[in-house]
């Protein structure tokens, strides 16, 4: 990652003054934020993702039907005034299910990404800072893990552990951690040679302090970008695993799960049971990636 921060920590001498350093950094973040607000890509992404977050939080309050309530009289009813997006094979209202279906994926994917980012950051800090044997061993493991597609790793792990929202969070987090660690490690490698780290060492600060209080704040921007990009992949992965039946479990109205339950019906012309869910996933992943792209653009200058 070639994201260069002209952060205060990189200039020698300012490292002891954490408060003064903080305010300069704060200003820089403010400028970046202003730049983001002017970017149409960013705003479009925020609009889409914001909409789905709203649905996830308040969806159950605004939808016309209970997304889990079956109604034998309206089985596979096409879109109409009663059921805007039609009804599925159990007579459940597709519109309500699509709106509320955002809830599980928007819980699982961000949690998994957050956990993965924290783990990956710690791992990356440790390997980048200590180098040596720890680094070698961990890098080997990371290489081997990276040689398998995430979906397959997830499939094998979830077969072993059994599927639930919690295991999905952990499997994806552990799958992402090495990838994030690699990014963080390369940032740490260039940071650790800088004067402020040497200064901190001369002050006999502990390694833990140097890693967390000195280096970490200076490599936050690439970590932020990584978080955002990974969030996109996490949504991709959760949706895919749910579609395969190894992710979010019934009776959740989750989109991937719904498509998996209903795609056998499309041959019969019951398109409304899957199309709206497909559009929902598509809009969410594109939205998240628009945001990530915009943030990366601003940080790269």
């Amino acid at each position: 990652m070639s994201v260069t921060t002209t952060g205060p920590g990189t200039t020698p001498g300012t490292s002891p003054g954490a408060s003064s350093g903080g305010s300069t950094r704060f200003k820089e973040w403010g400028e970046n934020l202003q730049q983001l607000m002017r970017s149409p890509t960013f705003l479009a992404g925020v609009l889409i993702v914001g909409f789905w977050i709203f649905c996830a939080l308040f969806g159950t309050l605004i939808v016309p039907y209970d997304p889990l309530e079956t109604d034998l009289l309206s089985v596979l009813e096409p879109p109409s005034a009663d059921h805007w997006f039609g009804a599925d094979q159990l007579g459940r209202d597709v519109f309500s299910r699509v709106i509320v279906g955002s809830r599980d994926i928007l819980t699982v994917a961000p949690l998994a990404t957050l956990l993965g980012t924290i783990l990956g950051t710690l791992l990356g800090l440790a390997t980048g800072y200590f180098r040596g044997l720890v680094d070698d061993v961990l890098s080997r493991i990371i290489d081997a893990l990276l040689s398998l597609p995430t979906v397959i790793v997830g499939l094998v792990a979830l077969t072993a552990l059994g599927s639930s929202n919690t295991t999905v969070v952990f499997v994806i987090a552990f799958g992402f951690a090495p990838i994030i660690a690699r990014t963080v490690r390369s940032s740490v490698l260039s940071e650790r040679e800088l004067d402020y780290v040497a200064a901190a060492r001369l002050r006999r600060e502990s390694s833990l302090y140097i890693m967390l209080a000195e280096i970490l704040p200076n490599i936050l921007p690439p970590i932020l970008v990584e978080f955002n990009v990974r969030l996109g992949y996490a949504i991709f992965a959760v949706a895919t695993l749910s579609f395969m039946g190894f992710g979010i479990q019934p009776p959740s109205p989750d989109w991937g799960l719904t498509i998996s339950d209903n795609y056998g019906l499309v041959g019969g012309g019951y398109w409304w049971t899957v199309l709206y869910d497909a559009i929902a996933i598509a809009s969410l992943v594109v939205g998240v990636n628009l945001i990530a792209d915009a943030i990366q653009g601003v940080l790269d200058g």
């Binding site: 398998l148 072993a160 395969m244 497909a278 992943v285």
Partner: protein, 300 residues
Amino acid sequence: MLSVIVFAGSQLLPGNVGRAILGPLADKRAVDVLNHQLGVDRPVLVQYTDWIVHFVQGDMGMSYTYRHPVTGFVVDAMRNSLKLALVAFVLVVPLSIFGGVWAALHVGRPIDRIITIFGLSTTVLPEFVSGIVLILVFAVWLQWLPISASWPDGAGLFTQIYYLILPSIPLVLVLFGYIARMARAGTVEALDSDYTRTAVLKGLPFPVVIWRHVLRNALLPTITVIATQTGYLIGGLVVVETLFHYQGIGGLIYTAAKSKDFPMLQAGVLSVGIVYMVATLTADILYSVLNPRIRYGAQG
């Protein structure tokens, strides 16, 4: 290393394999006998050594579900997946390189924005999402293409390709973004270089400059990306093959995972890992063949 992880992964699995096969009502002794026959009552390290030695010799063990050697299934599945992957590659490589170069030649203009945003959006779409939309449009509404990927027995080459077009498009869409982005970045850089300027100033015709000077340099990183995307491609195959009911390696892994057929699962996943490593190695070699600087650098 990879083999250890694959093996360890599936060893975490529910301890009693015999019980899983025979069901909860089976006699305890029958379960023990089966466990012994399958060899799963031995120490883990012994099992691992046994497994990896046989694997290297081409014997991947017995499937729990089919009671047949796994190797045959894996080889057949690999062949099918290769066909699908080949169709996808044949479609995506020229398309995305053309798209990327086209965008680079119009940097900053609307066509560049359109190609870039299109690539960005299709890359992040899960395959089953684009797949289901494609099925709806082309198989259900227009009825141009078959809804399933399994062709009738004894179908000729062209019929097979005809059946594989629709399943390959979701893969094409995901790969398009990556490859086009690399091709675009490489071309933009090459267009900006001194040698291109020299070639233009020499008075060479534009197409010659593009072909001989720009593309040759621009596409080096792209080739690497194409090869490394093989790993992704296999992940994508799991989804696409499930969606289109296709008997490939992805479908095999999926079925094995569903039915907890561990020898099959291990063999499938390890084969995938090996294919991926071979692809990465090929990419490295190809890159050094095409780029003399690296070749000579390594020797000198």
